[in-house]
């Protein structure tokens, strides 16, 4: 087997190390902590020429990160879940400063109830913050995406921060073979950070993040961020081509899996997409024409690539590993919106919610998803949101409820 065995967290730390970052403000939180532990060790030993600072909270951490990037340093930081939400206010400021840092989020479901295992309500809460978002499926992709993220973020046409997301536990603590890119290749791919329009210095004072007194300048600056985020689609394409040429691995904004002649397509993100792909293989072996579309870049929203992949399908199922209470799956809404004007839009759109709080997605559940999606396609009528929850899980829950209320008997 090629590559070194390493966890998703260690792969993330290696991404920051290979990107030769200058500054790492940090704060521990499960399941991200291993990333900052590795970086602290490397900064201490001199393996990295970066300053590592433990901050007093994620809110402070994100502020320090953004302020340092606005001063002209290449900055890396990482968090999870409650930490991301604690920093959320600052995310909007940092993107408004047009400070192109990279933040790794190790997804973990949000309280309450408090838990450690993953879903994507944390990272999707940052969906509208102005950070671009890349969601990784494998440990290799975590490392490679961080390198791509710096190149995209620092591009003059973009100048926006990027979140690289990986799933807690399923990826953060799972060891997979990771091929380390050659340092010279990385240097060729990712030039040093020398921002033309950022930095505080005595000879060129400037004011950043200032107040505006009306909607006119506010709208202008926010729209500039939108245009810059949209530019990231083209910049990502260029980065993907350069990365493939130098390193030999290719990452597009979306990844199609066995889509060629698929009637029905399952849309997923992150590590659980691997389970989806396995389910596609099983269904294919049974002669069903199904495929999977993995969304890799969530912001900017790759509408054209999604439309291209989903047009003319019989049915599409979106498996959201998140829940917007009172609405349903977050990504389902975005998929539906971008297919509305598609002449050859699928006959049925189905919404499934699964894997909340790290709940397993079994083969049986995914088989049911394909069956119900196929049926919806035949009927020409979508379904959902449907919560994936097995009978065995239901029995377990009833048992827990019995235990919780036992004293009343």
């Amino acid at each position: 087997m090629e590559g070194e065995m390493m966890t998703g967290n260690l792969a993330a730390a290696w991404g920051a190390r290979l990107a030769d970052v200058d500054y790492i403000p940090a704060f521990p939180i499960t399941p991200q902590t291993e990333i900052v532990e590795a970086l602290a060790k490397w900064c201490e030993s001199g393996a990295m020429a970066a300053r590592f600072v433990t901050m007093d909270s994620e809110h402070s951490m994100m502020t320090a990160a953004g302020a340092a990037a606005a001063t002209g340093a290449r900055v890396f930081t990482a968090t999870s879940s409650q930490g991301l939400l604690y920093a959320l206010e600052v995310l909007y400021s940092v993107s408004g400063w047009r400070a192109p840092l990279v933040l790794v989020n190790v997804s973990r479901a949000l309280a309450a109830p408090i838990t450690l295992e993953p879903d994507h309500n944390d990272v999707l809460a940052a969906r509208d913050s102005g950070f671009l978002q890349i969601h990784a499926e494998t440990c290799q992709e975590v490392l490679d995406s961080i390198l791509m993220a710096y190149r995209i973020a620092e591009d003059e046409r973009v100048m926006l921060p990027v979140i690289v997301n990986l799933d807690g536990f399923y990826l953060s603590f799972t060891r997979e073979p990771v091929i380390m890119p050659d340092l010279q290749m990385v240097k060729a791919f990712l030039p040093p950070f020398r921002p033309a329009h950022l930095g505080f210095k005595a000879s060129a004072p400037h004011a950043l993040g200032v107040a505006v007194l009306s909607g006119t300048p506010y709208s202008y600056f926010r729209h500039q961020m939108h245009l810059a985020a949209m530019n990231a689609l083209e910049v990502h394409r260029e980065a993907a081509a350069a990365f493939e040429q130098l390193v030999g691995r290719r990452y597009d904004v979306v990844e199609g899996y066995r889509l060629d002649d698929a009637d029905d397509v399952l849309v997923m993100t992150n590590a659980f997409a691997s389970k989806g792909k396995a389910a596609v293989d099983v269904a294919r072996a049974e002669g069903k024409r199904v495929g999977l579309l993995r969304l890799r870049v969530i912001r900017p929203w790759p509408a054209d690539a999604i439309r291209h992949a989903l047009q003319g399908r019989r049915a599409v199922a979106v498996l959201d590993q998140n829940l917007s209470p009172g609405q349903g799956g977050i990504l389902f809404q975005e998929i539906a919106a971008c297919l509305y004007h598609e002449a050859l839009r699928p006959r049925a759109l189905c919404s499934f919610i699964g894997g909340l709080g790290g709940k397993n997605l079994s083969e049986g559940e995914l088989r049911t998803v394909f069956e119900q999606t196929a049926e919806a396609g035949v009927q020409g009528k979508g379904i959902g949101p449907v919560l994936l929850y097995t009978e065995a899980e239901h029995r377990e829950m009833v048992q827990l409820q019995d235990l919780a209320t036992e004293h009343r008997a």
Binding site: D22, Y23, P25, A49, A50, R51, V53, M55, D56, S57, H59, S60, M61, M62, T63, A64, A65, G66, A67, A68, A69, A70, T71, G72, A73, V75, E89, V90, S93, W97, R194, G199, F200, K201, A202, S203, P205, H206, A207, L208, G209, V210, A211, V212, L213, P217
Partner: protein
């Protein structure tokens, strides 16, 4: 006896201005006057890191009154912003990507609302990490930019829009002002000082002294506030003066934790200060709240008795 070494005469205060006029701040803002004086020592090679508050209106697109730089952060994390800027400047200079001559002082500007409560975690962290920065708190004893609501810096007896005087609470604010000086001092930073804009030589001297220390340098500036304290803007110097002369706003410094009072007033009755301001008017009319006024006076007396004991003992 505390002696000024650099600023002995008013003529020694530089005439050059570093905070230019024409901002959106209120006429007679005592905080802005204190900052104007501070900037005469700080100079222009500064990046001001601002927390949400009145001073956020200083840099309003497309204007800034500073010849130095500015970064607006959030209400709760300006010291963390200072950390990021300071660290980045240090790293860039160490790596040769920024010439040493481009270096800047990092100065946090926060109001009392941010300083006393919301940014306390961020400030505590920065002091503990021995961050080399200045912290300038303009303390007008309430959330001023939102129209004078009770803050932890509001003194007993002041009326704010969220501590109105009522039959249940005739004194207005019922709690004592939080002692942020002592909270800072517990962190043992190299330099802390209180200042008041009506005492420019004391203020300039303290900024000059602070400049000799590496690490956190924290300033608490009395921000007499005509809009919120309800007096005529022209009376700011008199209000600031009486805050000090009645003993309510002690001028002091702490070097590595050791406190010295830099001016010992011959204390005037607190009424002289309170009477000038609409926020205390309910203590005097329609009936004089003798107990409330006496309470304020007793606390001032107790403070200075303690000062006399401890500083004479040294």
């Amino acid at each position: 006896m505390w002696q000024r070494e650099t600023f002995k005469k008013i003529k020694q205060i530089p005439r050059e201005e570093h905070v230019l006029p024409g901002t959106a701040l209120c006429a007679g803002c005592g905080g802005l006057e204190a900052l104007r004086l501070a900037a005469k020592v700080l100079g222009d090679e500064v990046v001001y890191v601002n927390a949400a508050g009145c001073f956020t209106m200083l840099a309003a697109y497309p204007f800034t009154p500073f010849k130095g730089s500015w970064l607006y952060t959030t209400m709760g994390s300006a010291p963390a912003g200072a950390q990021g800027v300071r660290d980045a400047l240090d790293v860039l200079i160490a790596k040769g990507r920024l010439p040493e001559r481009e270096n800047l002082k990092v100065v946090v500007l926060g109001g009392d609302g941010s300083t006393y409560d919301m940014a306390l975690s961020s400030t505590s962290g920065a002091i503990t990490r021995k961050l080399d920065f200045y912290y300038f708190c303009y303390d007008n004893e309430a959330y001023g930019n939102t129209g004078m609501q009770l803050s932890p810096a509001t003194p007993y007896g002041a009326r704010t829009t969220t501590s109105p005087c009522s039959l249940q609470h005739p004194s207005g604010a019922t709690r004592e002002k939080k002692d942020i000086f002592e909270i800072w001092r517990a962190h043992k930073p190299p330099y802390i000082a209180t200042v008041a804009p009506r005492y420019p030589l004391d203020l300039e001297e303290k900024f000059a002294r602070a400049a000799t220390f590496t690490g956190p340098k924290l300033f608490l500036a009395l921000s007499a506030c005509p809009t919120g304290w309800l007096y005529d803007p022209g009376e700011t110097p008199e209000v600031a003066k009486l805050a000090v002369e009645t003993g309510l706003w002690p001028l002091k410094e702490a070097i590595n934790g050791a406190v010295t009072h830099t001016y010992i007033p011959k204390p005037k009755p607190v009424e002289e200060y309170l009477k000038l301001q609409g926020r205390f008017r309910h203590l005097f009319e329609p009936v004089v709240q003798t107990e409330a006024i006496a309470h304020i006076q007793e606390r001032v007396n107790a403070y200075w008795e303690q000062v006399e004991k401890t500083e004479k003992a040294v």
